[in-house]
């Protein structure tokens, strides 16, 4: 980044205006020649090319602009006056007909005027735009008001209706049903003349449940224990065990991190590290493990810093929770473009908690859902009244506004003075920067450069000698302010101001005008309100989706008109009702779902049913699924015995005072290791390589459902990646060490990889393969003492590569 290029270019265009402008003439009283020119060249052109949309006779006046009278163009439309008499360069009309701005091209759709016509218009404006049509017609009144949204009608849409407590339906075969869930599903199956398929065997069920709840394969010991447990509630005990495992939070926390597009870097042009981000990640994992009530989970992430807390540590945890807002994506090299960061927040809040695509309303009212632009900027006001921690970027490169996590006494005595010092240097640094970029080359510029560098060095020194204290990348209250609508989403085009508040379709509550807060406290309550028709539905749908492969609503981030309607609306509401009644307990919901008969069905095909219901919307069988990127990597490590189960913690970033990240040299790192995949570094500028191959979530957007692809790169990974090979070798070594009996070894390998014993044929084939491969490895000059490991590694590579390993029945 160098000098303020944008400013330079603005001055450039001013220059050209100055060169091109003819002496402006007061044009109100048009002279005869001017009027003649207008009548001959301009009026016919306007009538022919513009009146269809910009006159009293137009069916619908576009952009509020009338070109059929002088007052019409003088007053202008939504974008302001269309013509500045005497100054074509400043006249929007001229800009539009020149097609120099992609957002302003008239006549539209590539029907550009001829060069001669444009020249005439320019000439006319230069002449002062003489126009005898001085009477504004009765036309202004006919400018069509924007059709408002009929909220009463919009509320009829299913997802905006209150959640209803539907009675459990009657079914013909009640003996099949184990849970009310089964009644809802079976009723629909019976109505369609279908019957649920066979049950999954116990091994399949255990593998399914273990991956679903922990993202890991079951161990041979767990398999043995479950098979040996003949009690009627054996599976329930398994569910309880899995829900109590710390691995549960590592699996379900990951689903949440997909939604909130978690990353350890900012996403700005230099993609700078956020060393404190992991605290939010660990908070999410812990919240799932504690079965934190979902409404509280929401409140903490939106406004945790404002909630009353019982203890110091609880207060810190809740501040960390607002890292959810702070990790919103950053843009540019100069910490500019906050409107894009707020857009990222708004997009995420609406999709994650409400299943709505509110960011569509940034530039215009939502085309399909009852979400006017006002609602977007009502939320925008709340977030721009909030102070987000600043991660640093290219300029300035130091993080700012991190939140100290220390007791008040210490804060006041030690940290506040330190922060004041930082703030002072930051202020000086900003001033030096502003000065330096305002100067061209020369002595003064050199002095400003030196002063700027000096303040950076001071800042580095301060941080290097900083008192040791914990801090969070989080938010706090800023200056409460309502914001104007940005016309067409352009922050340079402010419209009318909108009071801070909530979506009108969900109640339209306003932030109290007397209050001194940003409105986050209120927003947290509106989102977590049990009467909010979306919050509970959206969340129970997410749980359902991650258990069954598809949600009851198959567009988990879009419960609007463009999303899909629920396959089982009554069931969705039943679950939402139970979720609310159960105090928003996520774990209780898991249990309810997993204890259903439907969850325990086999994934066996039925070609006749597949004809009738190819997408298995009625759930006559269980949906087979491919493991996720994290599950694949974690399973490779778990099966080989190499998985490091250390939870949580920070990434080994360089200390802040050594950072020199720019868009030319952005931060890029891997930090490999054998810990669970959720703890791998997540960057915005690039996907973590291994996870990227297997459709890991993009940390730039709210991922409600990962698209699962099958690519040659994935196959190449299994064939040739160092990680796949190392883990196959380790898997082989593990099996070799476990027993001297070749058959027992094969049995163990099958139990570890597939959670089932090998068949007789498989044992025979396996033994034959191991034997036959010896010769091939001898040919490959493998030393005799390494032969067994090499041969077993080869065999384990095949197990790892197989469809059975990577798919879950």
């Amino acid at each position: 980044m160098r000098a303020p290029i944008r400013a330079a270019s603005f001055s450039a265009s001013l220059l050209f205006s100055a060169l091109l402008i003819l002496p402006a003439r007061a044009a109100v009283a048009a002279d005869d020649a001017g009027v003649a020119f207008f009548e001959n060249r301009i009026r016919p052109l306007l009538v022919e090319q513009c009146y269809d949309c910009h006159s009293a006779t137009a069916k619908k006046v576009k952009g509020g602009l009338l070109l059929d009278s002088q007052p019409g163009w003088s007053k202008g439309g939504d974008s302001g006056p269309a013509i500045v008499p005497g100054d074509p360069e400043k006249s929007l009309l001229i800009k539009a007909v020149r097609y120099l701005d992609k957002d302003l091209q008239m006549p539209p759709k590539n029907q550009q005027l001829t060069a001669a016509q444009i020249a005439d218009l320019v000439q006319w404006v230069k002449m002062g735009a003489p126009d005898p049509r001085t009477q504004a017609g009765p036309t202004v009144a006919r400018v069509e008001a924007k059709p408002g949204i009929d909220f009463a009608k919009a509320r009829q849409f299913w997802s905006f209706q209150p959640v209803q407590d539907y009675p459990v339906p009657h079914v013909k075969n009640p003996r099949w049903a184990r849970q009310p869930i089964d009644h809802f599903l079976l009723a629909k199956l019976e109505a369609a003349g279908l019957k649920p398929g066979a049950d999954a065997d116990r091994r399949t069920l255990l593998r399914r449940a273990t991956f679903d709840l922990t993202g890991l394969p079951p161990t041979p010991e767990e398999i043995t224990a479950f098979l040996a447990d003949k009690s009627p509630n054996a599976f329930e005990k398994v569910i309880d065990r899995l829900l109590a495992s710390p691995a549960y939070g590592e699996r379900w926390g990951r689903h949440w991190l997909d939604l909130v597009r978690y990353a350890d870097t900012s996403g700005c042009n230099a993609d700078v590290p956020i060393p404190d981000a992991y605290k939010y990640r660990d908070y999410v994992i812990a919240s799932f493990n504690q079965d934190k009530p979902y409404d509280q989970f929401i409140r903490e992430q939106i406004a945790g810093d404002l909630l009353p807390s019982a203890s110091e540590s609880e207060h810190y945890e809740r501040i960390i929770a607002t890292g959810y807002l702070a990790i919103s994506r950053r843009f540019s090299s100069l910490g500019e473009e906050p409107h894009l960061t707020f857009d990222d927040t708004i997009d995420n809040v609406s999709k994650t908690f409400l299943g709505l695509t509110l960011s569509c309303a940034r530039c215009h009212d939502h085309k399909y859902d009852p979400l006017p632009t006002d609602d977007y900027y009502a939320l925008y006001g709340i977030f721009s009244s909030t102070r987000y921690a600043f991660p640093g970027t290219e300029i300035p490169r130091h993080p700012r506004n991190l939140i100290a996590l220390v007791p008040r006494d210490r804060y006041e005595a030690e940290i506040a003075p330190f922060e004041a010092k930082l703030a002072k240097v930051d202020q000086e640094m900003d001033a030096h920067y502003a000065r330096k970029v305002s100067l061209d080359t020369g002595k003064e510029r050199n002095a400003a450069d030196a002063a700027y560098k000096k303040s950076n060095d001071e800042r580095d020194a301060l941080i290097k000698a900083a008192p040791k204290y914990d801090h969070a990348y989080a938010v706090t209250e800023g200056v409460p302010v309502n914001v104007p609508i940005q016309l067409k989403g352009d922050p340079k085009k402010p419209g009318r101001e909108v009071p801070r508040g909530f979506l009108q379709i969900l109640g339209g509550q306003k932030v109290p005008a007397t209050g001194r807060g940003s409105g986050r406290r209120e927003l947290a309550d509106w989102l977590a309100d049990p009467r909010n028709p979306l919050t509970a539905r959206v969340m129970v749908n997410r749980l359902w989706q991650h258990h069954f492969g598809e949600g009851l609503v198959r567009t988990p981030n879009d419960f609007g008109a463009r999303g899909q309607a629920p396959t089982h609306p009554e069931l969705l509401d039943y679950l939402a009702t139970r979720f609310l009644a159960g105090g928003w307990s996520v774990k209780a919901l898991h249990k309810q779902i997993m204890l259903s008969h439907a969850y325990q069905l086999a994934s066996t095909e039925n070609s006749a049913y597949a004809q009738k219901d190819p997408d298995n919307r009625l759930l006559w069988k269980f949906n087979r699924r491919r493991l996720s990127a994290e599950e694949i990597r974690d399973a490779l490590l778990a099966v080989s015995g190499a998985l490091d189960r250390t939870p949580g913690g920070a990434h080994p970033f360089k200390p802040e005072w050594e950072w020199r990240y720019t868009q030319h040299n952005p931060f890029v790192a891997d930090f490999p290791g054998h810990r669970r995949s959720i703890y791998l570094l997540q960057q915005r500028i690039r996907l973590q390589p291994v996870l990227g191959v297997f459709d890991g979530a993009d940390a730039n957007m709210a991922t409600g459902q990962r698209p699962l692809s099958t690519t040659a790169l994935q196959a190449l990974f299994m064939l040739n990646d160092p990680l796949a090979h190392q883990q196959a070798e380790q898997f082989g070594a593990r099996v070799l060490a476990a027993s001297d009996d070749p058959i027992r070894r094969l049995q163990l390998a099958y139990e570890l990889a597939f959670a089932r014993p090998a068949t007789k044929d498989e044992l025979r084939d396996g033994a034959a393969y191991l034997k036959a491969m010896e010769a091939k490895f001898v040919d490959a000059k493998t030393p005799a003492d390494k032969l067994p490991r090499a041969v077993w590694a080869s065999y384990c590579r095949v197990l790892y590569s197989s469809n059975e390993f990577i798919f879950l029945d």
Binding site: P666, M773, R797
Partner: protein, 439 residues
């Protein structure tokens, strides 16, 4: 099908014919919706911002007024000489003596405009049509629209020895299916991640794949209706094919001395843009739909703030190679159905930055198109006297994209993908095909 797995002799076009319906194989080749001359595209991307004022847009008035102070900024005259070339007489700077010889095949656009003055956003902009949030790359869109001819190679290859601005976002499929993501190919021992066989011998790998096929067949028996299982089995065949095909594409030993000379490539070297250009031709020959070449990374590029003389080594790196590529394609009859695009993220300011350098300038800059469906030997659009703004025939980056898609037989308004409740396009809600460029 599984039996064919270990026959290295399988040729790509066989698999292409066998690729099955689109539903099964998102990369199956598709006929474009409109008749088109260009079947594939080679996209030459110059990282850092090539100066329009020192390449294809000669400004005599800027030369005459050099040194004048304008609003506190000093105008910098063109730092290199321009001459007219070819029958068309198009002016090209002395930085590009080889490309100048091909000028009658080029359609030079002097009125390109983009939306952002920073490298990162400008780089994603010219690749994805978005200067703000992340979106799919143009190569991914083309792959999504047309599939590919050779199932043993990816549809979208990116020859990028260095990571450009915005990292991998320039070739990311974003919300499009991941198979449409650009595959980065680099010079060196492992040109594609995991491409090199790691099992000690081919015989061992074949044995492993045989056993895998057996496992998967048995697993599939009771799950015959799940097409994902078959697709994954096929993916191993493709991977195996790619493992063998890719080294062949990258093996330049059979190229003649004359060809190497044409590109300016030393035998045995895989350095520089010459290597990239020759590999690009070989990829194009083998049916890769979209080949992108990025000449440099986020440093050591065209970003000549301090002095425009820094353009010299950058130009040397690409000039003969690009001319060689155009000449080679032409002599093989491939230029008729290959679209070659030369572009960058923005131009450079008419005023100085540093002493004889220039800063970033998205308001007007130059690029060119050549080959399939393009009128050669023409200039389209004009900048103003100093090269500050577009003076005539604006070609916004969206128009540029719309035109490229049009040349491949795709209507940019119809190539859409439903994501988050909306139908997205490469050109957002903008873009006009520039018809004047079409042959």
């Amino acid at each position: 099908m599984a039996g064919s797995l270990v026959l290295p002799g399988i040729v790509s076009d066989l698999l292409a014919r066998d690729a099955g319906p689109v539903a099964d194989n998102p990369l199956a080749p598709r006929r474009p919706p409109q008749a088109a001359k260009a079947k594939r595209i080679i996209f030459l991307y110059m990282s850092g911002g090539v100066s329009h004022l020192e390449s294809f847009d000669y400004k005599p008035k800027l030369a005459a007024d050099a040194g004048k102070q304008v609003n506190g900024r000093t105008l910098l005259g063109p730092q290199f000489k321009f001459e007219r070339h070819g029958r068309s007489g198009i002016e090209v700077s002395e930085l590009f003596p080889h490309m100048a010889k091909c000028v009658d095949d080029l359609c030079v656009i002097r009125s390109l405009k983009a939306e952002h003055f920073e490298h990162f956003q400008a780089t994603t902009g010219i690749h994805t049509g978005s200067w703000t949030v992340k979106r799919p790359s143009i190569g991914s869109w083309v792959s999504y629209g047309l599939g590919t001819e050779n199932q043993n190679l990816p549809s979208f290859v990116v020859l990028a020895p260095y990571l450009p601005y915005a990292g991998t976002q320039s070739w990311d499929a974003d919300f499009l299916p991941a198979v449409h993501q650009g595959m980065r190919v680099m010079p060196g021992e492992e040109p594609v991640r995991d491409l090199i066989r790691r099992s000690p011998t081919l015989a061992i790998q074949e044995a492993e794949l045989d056993l895998l096929a057996k496992f998967n067949r048995k697993h599939q028996e009771k799950r015959a209706e799940d097409s994902r299982l078959a697709a994954r089995i096929r993916s191993f065949e493709t991977a195996f094919g790619m493992q063998n095909t890719m080294p062949d594409v990258l093996d330049l030993s059979q190229e003649t001395d004359a060809t190497l000379r044409l590109y300016g490539l030393e035998r045995g070297s895989n350095k520089g843009f010459a290597w990239q250009c020759l590999v690009a031709r070989r990829m194009a020959e083998r049916g890769v739909r979209f080949v992108e070449l990025i000449d440099s990374g986020s440093t050591g590029n065209w970003d000549s703030h301090g002095k425009m003389a820094d353009h010299i080594p950058r130009a040397k790196n690409v000039d003969q190679a690009i001319a060689g590529l155009l000449t080679d394609l032409k002599s093989r009859g491939m230029l008729d159905d290959t679209l070659v695009v030369f572009t960058t993220e923005f131009g450079r300011t008419p005023h100085t930055d540093g002493v004889t350098g220039r800063s970033h300038h998205p308001y007007v800059f130059s690029s060119w198109l050549a080959g399939g469906g393009i009128k050669g030997g023409m200039v389209y659009g004009e900048s103003d006297d100093y090269g500050y703004d577009v003076a005539k025939d604006l070609v916004h980056a969206h128009d540029f994209h719309a035109t490229i898609l049009h040349l491949l037989g795709i209507n940019h308004e119809k190539l859409t993908y439903r994501h988050a409740g909306r139908d997205y396009r490469l050109t957002d809600v903008y873009g006009n095909v520039v018809k004047a460029l079409l042959a």
